[in-house]
Amino acid sequence: MIEHIELFFKSIFIDNMVFAVFLGMCSYLAVSKKVATAVGLGAAVIFVLAITVPLNWLLDQYLLQPGALKWLGPEFADYDLGFLSFIMFIATIATMVQLVEIVVEKFSPSLYNSLGIFLPLIAVNCAILGGSLFMQSREIETLGLALNYGVSSGIGWFLAILAIAAIREKIRYSNVPAPLRGLGITFIITGLMGIGFLSFGGMLTGGDEEPSAAPTEQVESVETETTKEMNIEQGKSIVENTKTVE
């Protein structure tokens, strides 16, 4: 249970799709002019991530990983189809997006009207493919965790686009230097928000921002409350270390 909660908050705040790894920036910048449309796209992203990440987890586990084809028989145990991941993942995503569009249109026209126009956009949203690729590279262990990862990184993306849309609606009334208007100021605000989100770094894992944090997570989930508190103290120094490492 604890690893679910940990992964959930970690993917929303610490490894936020937009602020930590810049995924889905294109649609983030293009569709964030109004809060209402931003909410629509954000919801669609959560929805699609929640479907594609577990699906690609299954593909990864039973087709793509080295030795994943063992279930076909012992003579397949040496096969490594890892180089096909990109094409498999993107094909899954493209078909799922198409399928979701058809299903939603059939069963819930009202949802389709609010999500509809965004769904085709999503097939080429980096956040979706990025979700699957990070799921693979972080070696997420169970289907449940993969689902959790999909949903929570979707929520992280949703929060980010909601926040920037609200700021952009307000900033229209401010006196921004002319050359910075529009795109420029949005970049800088996103950067500042990213700096803000950096401070979540020490929240769960004691400031460990390594991308391959999966093994350390396991160790820490066993730790008790008191060591957690100590970790926060250590976090500050570790954050400083990662600065130099990066």
């Binding site: 602020f19 930590a20 790894v21 810049f22 995924l23 889905g24 920036m25 294109c26 910048l29 293009a30 180089f83 096909l84 991941s85 990109f86 094409i87 993942f89 993107i90 094909a91 493209a94 078909t95 085709p120 097939a123 080429v124 949203n125 980096c126 956040a127 979706i128 493919l129 990025g130 690729l133 990070f134 693979q136 590279s137 230097p177 002319a178 050359p179 910075l180 208007r181 529009g182 795109l183 420029g184 100021i185 949005t186 970049f187 800088i188 996103t190 950067g191 500042l192 928000m193 990213g194 700096i195 950096l198 991308p211 400083e240 600065k243 130099t244 990066e246």
Partner: protein, 214 residues
């Protein structure tokens, strides 16, 4: 006149300045900024996109009359994905360390909006040679921004370029460090890439007033 006619040359030079894919068209930011903490990674990313976009544009342009428009997105994705797999495998074979640094971001070239954007906007309606030039031009425009950002982040963040310390030794206190200069570790943090791009946009738009948005 040489190799390129004036119109063709414009296809290459335009994206470098007034029609830059990153700062003007707002495409391809996704997979780019996270890897610009080092100049070397930025350069390799630029070359990878140059290859994928140049070849991909030609392939799509050759197929433009036989792709049914309903499934063109999937066809395009398959073409890009195959090219990216080639890049990924080559990097893994010849520059394994670098491919570890770039990790998933090579894969994310697939969903790089520049590539889909150029396929849709140019390759589907133009011949192979012009599409090739357009692909090269846009990829160069993308690479230029990456290299500028990578240059400043590596220089100010770690005091080196391509991994070579150019400002002296930070620990031994030689070079500029001897007069009290310090590396700004913050430049290596992801958000600084965004702020630097914001500043590039600022400079570019104050030099060319036509680009200012309302």
């Amino acid at each position: 006149m040489g190799l390129l006619s004036k119109k063709d040359a414009k296809l290459i030079t335009d994206p470098l300045t007034d029609n830059n894919p990153i700062t003007i068209q707002v495409l391809g930011i996704c997979s780019a900024l996270a890897i610009t903490a080092e100049l070397k990674a930025s350069l390799v990313m630029g070359i990878a996109v140059l290859f994928v976009l140049g070849v991909g544009n030609v392939v799509i342009s050759l197929m433009r009359n036989i792709i049914p428009s309903k499934i063109r997105i999937i066809v395009q994705l398959i073409v890009v994905a195959s090219l990216v797999i080639i890049v990924d495998q080559v990097l893994k074979a010849y520059a394994f360390e670098l491919s570890k640094t770039l990790s998933v971001f090579i894969g994310l070239i697939i969903t790089n909006c520049i590539i889909m954007g150029r396929f849709e906007a140019f390759a589907l309606g133009n011949g192979p040679w012009r599409s090739f030039l357009d692909g090269i031009g846009n990829a160069l425009g993308y690479a230029v921004i990456l290299i500028i950002v990578g240059f400043f982040r590596e220089l100010l963040g770690s005091g080196s370029l391509f991994g070579f310390p150019v400002l002296g030794d930070a620990i031994e206190k030689t070079g500029v460090y001897s007069i009290g200069y310090e590396n700004n570790g913050f430049m290596l943090m992801p958000p600084m890439a965004l702020i630097i791009v914001g500043l590039i946009i600022w400079v570019q738009r104050s030099r060319n007033k036509d680009l200012i948005e309302d």
